[in-house]
Amino acid sequence: MTAYIVRRLFATLPVMAVVALFVFFLLRFAPGDPAAIIAGEDATTEAIEAVRAKLGLDRPMVEQFFVWVTQLLRGDLGVSIFSNLPVTRLISQRLEPTVALTLSTLFVAVAMAIPIGVLAAWKVRKWVDRVVMGFAVLGFAMPVFVLAYILIYFFAVQWQMLPVQGYQPIKEGLWPFVESLILPSLALGITYMALIARTTRASMLEVLSQDYIRTANSKGLATGRVLLLHALKNAAVPIITVIGIGIALLISGVVITETVFNIPGLGRLTVDAVLKRDYPVVQGLILVFAGAKVLVNLVIDISYAFLDPRIRY
């Protein structure tokens, strides 16, 4: 297992290199110039040139790339062009909200999806199944922000049950923290719930048609045991896989959700940085996202071994 993990981690190096290279040059070839943005609304062309020179953006691109890579190897992601703060600090400031949002969304999605997926598979082709799956497909089709506005309108503005926006760190107390995450997690989670529920149902259906389920039934086991132990454990690998894919997709949803609910997380930071051409921040963030994704995949792969004894590394 350890050898497997080490090997997998090594295997991520070329992936990360591709990411680094791609991101760096993509950004550099993009129009838009942080110098112009920094210089401000009334700056002259000359002033912009001066800023650019100061930032080293007039240097040859290859040189800039090497400077960046050298920094990277030292664990230094550089300094934001705008705030002058280290990118690592900007990222660490934003980490908690995004991680909290991602985890709570996953929690909401998984907690809703697996039971209804199992239920739908059990009552396949019955009205319960149709209702649940209809809901799931609809949830999948709903743009996140439309859902978010509807939730805000009712829960926050009309009924004033929950805050409209913002994020309360867990240090501020458990309830404020949870309260600030309910609406965003719901808005974001419905999509993933739909995805996971559908996969759960499909996977359960396939498992339920397997011979060993027939065996379990021929033993007269209680329905609960057959569904939740015999079937669900076998159906888990595709479900876990789709949860993994979900985490990856979440990042896109997080960007929008963070915008609507004004959560100071990484997604928002990235969009701002892209729009403002804050290169070091964008580069650092995409590396972090890519790294996180690689890590999630690794965790998922390892979790297979716990769910399915047949898998050995």
């Binding site: 791609f22 922000f145 506005y149 996969t199 499909a202 396939e206 789709v242 960007v255």
Partner: protein
């Protein structure tokens, strides 16, 4: 020995029946009907639209739905109904072209990867890299790379989708390669090109078509998301994403600007998904697990 006895009669072939197809797959039928309505709407947009969707009339801004403006007007006084009708064009073009382009690219790369092992290691590395970059960020970056336009939006959505399709196709190719009928064809003297085009390619199409319906649906949502973030098609273009994105500021005072195109978007995505689900059940039940 050349006698054909009646006892070797073939089992009767089932004739195709529309009713049976619908009964077997009511969701496909529903998805298909919804989609057909939308396609008609897109194609005949100029006939259906009651107003010029581009015409700015600030005097009439944010009018609620009425006889004159069925779905009300937006902040520029443009007719939301007409824009929604035209928006079907944009959404369908985005959805279909992303699905088509990424399918073609993904198919080509996936076939190459699945069939030629040497290509595989290189291409898959790059695909892994592309997949590791969050797609919406890649799209934003790409769109800022060039001038926004329908074309670049499509390209931006295609790029992150391609690796996914490549993976699906590659997996299918690998599993088809292991099928006895491929071995049987090789043993029968079938060579690379024909093997690829006659035996492998057609059998990748079913999962590919199913996958591409999902790509199509997600492309429409991504287009809306990009517009929402201000990185989509040019703002004057009446895409549903744009209508919603521009209307979001007025959600509480003019909910029609967001709810109606939002509903259209959701229904379209729903229709495509239903179609995809139905096709999946019909064409490739095992794909259900892969998604």
């Amino acid at each position: 020995m050349a006698i054909i006895a009646d006892d070797l009669a073939l089992p009767p072939a089932r004739r195709f029946s529309m009713w049976r197809a619908i009964r077997r797959n009511p969701t496909v039928a529903l998805g298909g009907v919804l989609l057909a309505v939308l396609v008609v709407m897109a194609v005949f947009a100029p006939l259906i639209a009651t107003n010029d969707p581009f015409k700015i009339a600030p005097v009439n801004r944010l009018r609620p739905p009425s006889e004159r403006w069925w779905f009300g007007t937006d902040q520029f006084g443009r007719d939301v109904f007409s824009r929604t009708v035209y928006g079907a064009r944009v959404s369908l073009i985005v959805g279909l072209s992303v699905a088509a382009i990424s399918s073609i690219l993904g198919l080509a790369l996936g076939l190459a990867c699945g069939y030629f092992r040497r290509v595989d290691s290189i291409v898959m590395r790059i695909m892994d890299g592309l997949m590791a970059i969050p797609s919406i960020l890649l799209a934003i970056a790409l769109i800022t790379l060039s001038r926004p336009g329908l074309g670049i939006v499509i390209v931006a959505i295609v790029i992150p989708e391609v690796p996914r399709i490549v993976r699906v196709v590659r997996a299918v190719v690998l599993s088809i390669r292991a099928q006895p009928y491929v071995e049987s064809a090789i043993a029968g003297g079938t060579r690379n090109w024909k093997l690829l085009t006659r035996h492998i390619l057609p059998n990748t199409l079913a999962p590919l078509i199913v996958q591409s319906t999902y790509v199509c649906a997600s492309a429409m949502l991504t287009e809306a998301g990009l517009s929402f973030l201000g990185a989509g098609v040019p703002p004057e273009v009446p895409s549903w994403g744009n209508i919603i994105a521009q209307g979001r500021t007025f959600f509480q005072i003019a909910p029609w600007t967001i709810m109606i195109p939002g509903t259209f978007l959701a229904v379209t995505v729903l229709a495509v998904n239903l179609l995809g689900d139905g096709l999946r059940d019909r064409l490739d039940p095992r794909l259900a697990r892969r998604l």
